[in-house]
Symmetry: C2
Subunit: 98 residues, 2 copies
């Protein structure tokens, strides 16, 4: 499996709109086992996205899906920048969809 933990900083006041776009785009991605969008509990403009994929190839391929391309286009103006980013190798646990 392949995992990503990443923080995105939104344009002030646009975090909810950005989160909605990401959530809408998060279903129907082949090879995606988990994609959780979360608000940072401390920082008003920060979002976390935690992802689990069956492979890094599936993650890479998802970036070319029309639905994801569309979401990226809409999301870009709402993003100021990116914070922490960690690549992981998920190995198990609870709640991994197939």
């Amino acid at each position: 499996m392949y995992g990503l933990i990443g923080k995105i900083r939104s344009v002030p006041g646009q975090r909810d709109a950005l989160a909605s776009l990401l959530i809408q785009a998060s279903s129907g991605m082949p090879g995606c086992l988990s994609y959780v969008v979360a608000l940072d509990a401390a920082e008003a403009d920060d979002l976390w996205v935690t992802e689990v994929w069956d492979s890094s190839a599936s993650h890479r391929a998802s970036l070319s899906l029309p639905s994801v391309q569309q979401a990226i286009t809409k999301a870009k103006p709402l993003i100021v920048g990116f914070g922490e980013r960690f690549e992981t190798k998920p190995i198990g646990g609870y709640g991994l969809s197939t």
Copy 2:
């Protein structure tokens, strides 16, 4: 919802054993919607745990479950320390179990 993203550093060579303990303990926790154990892709002794709960109260209560208490007792000698820790408010996405 309530979320945690946290890094655990294992005793050198004990990461797999620690991960197994955490994975074993990750099912059957009331209110847990996702609990993913992942190896850090860059650091040989680092593990990530990403958690989603229906509430912080469910997370707190899980720490008193006999199965979790048992896992903590077994895991402690395998842990050197803790790294980054982020509290989040998950709001949606894909793969949240109920």
